[in-house]
Point group: C2
Chain length 229, copies 2
Amino acid sequence: MLCASCEARHGGVCAALDPDQLAVLARSARKYEAGSGTELMGDAERIESYANVLSGVVKLTKTLSDGRQQIVGLQFAPDFLGRPFKAESDLNAEAATDVSLCAFPRASVERMIRASPELERRLYLQALKELDEARDWMVTLGRKTAGEKIASFLLMIARSIEPAAGTDRMSARFDLPLTRADIADFLGLTIETVSRQLTRLRADKVIAIENNRHVIVPDLSRLEARQGR
Amino acid sequence: MLCASCEARHGGVCAALDPDQLAVLARSARKYEAGSGTELMGDAERIESYANVLSGVVKLTKTLSDGRQQIVGLQFAPDFLGRPFKAESDLNAEAATDVSLCAFPRASVERMIRASPELERRLYLQALKELDEARDWMVTLGRKTAGEKIASFLLMIARSIEPAAGTDRMSARFDLPLTRADIADFLGLTIETVSRQLTRLRADKVIAIENNRHVIVPDLSRLEARQGR
DNA sequence: CGCGGGTTTGAATCATGTCAAGTTAAGTGG
DNA sequence: CCACTTAACTTGACATGATTCAAACCCGCG
């Protein structure tokens, strides 16, 4: 079965299902890859499917009619993508990196939710997690300076990409999954401000950057000291 | 039974319960009033109870150690107050106005959740609603100007206080449930900026203000035109 | 009548945005 | 293998919206 080696089978929502249920769902599941920049779910589109993120990063954005944009969520594996109980979404999902997804038709997920309280519980927990994250982010957006925003962002990425980092290790290295423009949309800044703040962190030797995308943090606590507390 | 006339019995989470369950829960419920400014749930406190908001407004805040504060949610009747599945909260709940609450001990709510999938569904739906609101707010915090933030805020209050407004009626009037300082904490601005923007809206005859708290909006569409779209 | 919290207003400062050049790096095709 | 193109990023000079600091105001209340 394709699920056996799947990350979502363990940490993700599929972990809620027993083997029989999983077999049913797997029959209608379809795995697919999408290149960076692909729109996964449109603004005013009807939602026809849900998906698990298997690898890569998906960004959820909202856009004002004059073009101003804000990223309101980032989904990493094994997050579940989709908004149950709502036909229309007012947000946009786009592949921030190359991603691979495991998609399910809307109807079979909703049937499965009705059948499995355990699955619904999982989804509820993910919603609570996303709510906690969104509220943390509101503090960052509303009250932190540009420099603090960048530090907070780097730490968030370090934590969600390198699971080990933060607890035991003092240092971290990772690839940024977002372009400067995306980072700006995430933090409510401009590209230029993002760039300047990164330059400053580099000048102060808090981070090093290779190839514009690879970040090295020799001492996480020095970065933490800049995130605002 | 005290529940009969209760707002939460109808629109709120208690609507999920059948009469028997309600009777059980009602036995451990305790109604109480709290004056404006009362702290309802502390930052690092253990969470000992949940509650329904029966009237008034509760603000959920987060604070950085240097005192910067951000309101991350407002709860109106008949919202449910509390964060299931988590012993510690990293946010603060405070009465923004005089409020009345219907409180339940933590244990009986959690027992009830386990017994009633319908109740859990309700709570899940409220979490999704709060998530949608938080994400809308992130756009406001990250991408809107001070003037647009104030207009957005006034419209949000108008909608949640005066249920009828917005759809059929062209005008609205309501009391602000928050002080200028609270509005500033909600919008990621300073008191002074809030005050200046309100003054400007008044000067432009988009709104009128009586007694510093009562707002009159003669033409909602003119206010909507200022909220940023 | 005076006191105090909440609010408004003004002037100066500062952080971030805007506009405009550059620079780098990664293709792409000759 | 080397111009040429292009997208992403960096840097600089300047403009501006929001904050900061300071003072005055308003109004209910003792």
